[in-house]
Amino acid sequence: MRGFGHLTLILLCLLFFALLPYLPLGIWRDFLLDVGFFVLLFTALALSWDLVARTGQLSLAHGAFFGLGAYGAGLLAPQVGTLPALFLGALGAGAGALVLGWITLRLHGLYFAMASLAFSEVLRTIALKLPFTGGPIGLPVPPPFGGSWPLAAYYLSFSVLFLATALSLWAERSPFRLAQAATRQSEAVARVLGVQVVRVKLWSLLLGSLVAGLAGGVYGMKTLFLSPYDAFSLGRAVEALVIPIFGGLYTTLGPLMGGVVLVSLEHALRLWIKEGYLVVYGAILILVILFLPRGLVGILGRRRG
C-alpha cells in the first residue's frame, strides 16, 4: 500500500498546526500565528486547486471562487452569524463553479484555462460595480464570533485545511481517483472505459470551489476588509497553482508540504526583500518545472504515474 509514509507525515503536519498556539513561541508568537494562519489557508486553497487539476483542467478561476466566498461570507456575516455565513459563502462559490463548469467543462487545456480566467476577470469587474459590495472602496468584515475569541480565525483556517485534506485524501484513496486520473490522461480513452468525463470534472470543480470559497470567507474575517482587487485577484489563482506544482501535483502531501514551505518563505521574503518576493516566486516556478517536475514529493521518491 502506497503512502503509509505520506499519511503519517500528513497527520504529523496537522497535529503540529493544531498545537501551534500552545507551543512556547515567546515574543514571536503573534507573528508566527499570523504566518500559520496564512499557511493553513493558502494550503487549503492549493489543495482545492489540485483537486481540480487532477482531472487535467488548469483552473485560473480559483481567485473568483475565493472572492465569491469572501464576499458572500463578508456580506452575510453581520446578519446570520459567522458559521452560517461561511457556509453560504462557500455555497455561493459552488454555485459559481456550477455555472462555469456547466458551460465550459467541455473545453480542454488552454481553452478551459482562458475561459476560467475570463470568468474570474468578469466577476471582479462586477464586484467593482455592484452597489452593495462597496466597489473599489472595499467592504469591512466583522471578526469571527464577534471577536470574542482571539484564536477563532486561526482555528477556522485550520478547519478549512482539515476539510481540504480530508477531501483530498478521500479523492486520492477512493475509486474517484481512478476516474480523475483517466480523465486527465486521456479523455477519449476514459470515455470509452465508461467514465462520465464531464460529470467527473464538474464534481471536482464543485468540491474544489467549495473549499476555495470557505477559504475566502475565513480570509475576509481575518483581514477584516475586502476589496475586489484583493479578493478576486489573479494572484490568488497563481498562488493556488504554484504551491501544488512546487510540492508535487496530484497528491495530498505535495500541496501540504509545498504550502508550508512556500507560504512561510513568502512571509520571510516579505520581511527581507519587501515587494520583490514575487520575482523569487516566478523563479521558483521555472526552476521547479525544469529541474524538479515532480515537486518536493518527488524527492521523497514515492510517486504514481
Binding site: L107, L110, M114, L117, E121, L278, V279, Y281, G282
Partner: protein, 285 residues
C-alpha cells in the same frame, strides 16, 4: 452618427496593434505549440526599451522599432533555447506553468527596476492630430496602425514566399512529415519563437508612445491576445486580424457609450472571449 463613426475609427486604429501582438502569440502557439503566458512580457520589454532609449539617448521611437525587433528576437530565441526547448515534450500543464512563472518573474523584475509608475514616450509629434472631414485621427495611432499592417503584410509574404516561411507553415501543419523531408523542426521552432517575441517587441514600442510603458502592461496584452487567438481559432493566422478588429471595436463602443465605461472595458474583452469559448464548446459537443 459622427460619434459612432469616430468610435468605429478609434476601434479600427486600435485593432492594428492588437493584431500584431496576437499574431505573435498565434505563431508561438501554432508553430511551436507552446502556450506562452509570457508573450506580453516581450511587449513590456519593447516598451521599456523604447522608453529608456528615448529618455537617455533621445532616440526617436521610430528608430527604436528596429532595435526592439532585434532585441526581442534575441530574447525570444534565448528563452526558447533555455526554457522552452527542455519542456517541449512535457505535459501541456507544465509548459503553461513554466511560461506563467516566466511572466511573473519578468513582470516583477520590471516592477523592482522601474517601479509601478507608467512612463510615456513623448516625441514632438505625439499629440499631432489629423483632421479628416469631421473626424480626428491621432498621428500616432494612425502611424501605429499602418506600421502594424505593413509588418503583418511582410510576415504574410515571408510565410508564403520564402523557404523558411514555408517550412514554418509545414511544421505548423504536421509535426513529423516535415522532418522526413529534411526540415529541421528545432530550427523552425527557434525562428518562430524569436519572431513571435519580435512582433510583440515592436508592438511594445508603438504602445510606449500610444499608451505607456509599465510593468503590468504586458500581462494585460497577453490576456487580450489569448482572447483574440481563441476567437480566431487556434492556428488560424488570417483570422487574427478580423478577431482583433471585433474585440477592439467592442472595447471602443463600450468606452464611448456606456456610462462609466472606462472600468468595464476589460470586462467586455473577457466577456467576448468567454462567449467565444462557450460557443466553441457547445459547437463541438
Amino acid at each position: 452618427m459622427e460619434l459612432l463613426l469616430q468610435t468605429l475609427l478609434n476601434g479600427l486604429l486600435l485593432s492594428g496593434v492588437y493584431a500584431l501582438v496576437a499574431t505573435g502569440l498565434a505563431l508561438s502557439l501554432g508553430v511551436v505549440g507552446i502556450v506562452n503566458f509570457a508573450h506580453g512580457e516581450f511587449l513590456m520589454m519593447g516598451a521599456f526599451l523604447s522608453y529608456l532609449l528615448f529618455a537617455f539617448r533621445g532616440l526617436d521611437p521610430l528608430l527604436s522599432l528596429g532595435l526592439a525587433f532585434l532585441a526581442a528576437f534575441l530574447v525570444g530565441g534565448l528563452t526558447y533555447q533555455g526554457l522552452i526547448r527542455p519542456v517541449l515534450k512535457a505535459p501541456e500543464l507544465n509548459q503553461m506553468l513554466l511560461t506563467f512563472g516566466l511572466a511573473i518573474l519578468l513582470q516583477n523584475l520590471a516592477l523592482l527596476l522601474f517601479g509601478a509608475d507608467t512612463r510615456v514616450v513623448a516625441p514632438p509629434y505625439q499629440a499631432t492630430t489629423l483632421a479628416l472631414g469631421p473626424f480626428f485621427l491621432g498621428a500616432v495611432p494612425l502611424g501605429a496602425f499602418l506600421l502594424s499592417l505593413a509588418t503583418l503584410l511582410l510576415l504574410q509574404v515571408f510565410l508564403s514566399r520564402s523557404r523558411l516561411g514555408l517550412a514554418m507553415r509545414a511544421v505548423a501543419q504536421n509535426r513529423q512529415a516535415p522532418g522526413l523531408l529534411g526540415i529541421e523542426a528545432e530550427r523552425v521552432y527557434l525562428l518562430a519563437f524569436g519572431l513571435a517575441a519580435a512582433l510583440a517587441g515592436v508592438a511594445g514600442v508603438m504602445l510606449s508612445v500610444m499608451l505607456y510603458a509599465s510593468p503590468t502592461v504586458g500581462f494585460a496584452f497577453t490576456l487580450k491576445s489569448f482572447a483574440i487567438v481563441a476567437l480566431a481559432g487556434l492556428g488560424n493566422l488570417k483570422g487574427v486580424v478580423p478577431a482583433a478588429f471585433v474585440l477592439a471595436l467592442a472595447e471602443a463602443l463600450v468606452s464611448t457609450y456606456l456610462p462609466g465605461g472606462g472600468g468595464l472595458v476589460e470586462a467586455v474583452f473577457f466577456l467576448v472571449l468567454f462567449l467565444a469559448l462557450v460557443g466553441r464548446a457547445w459547437r463541438e459537443a
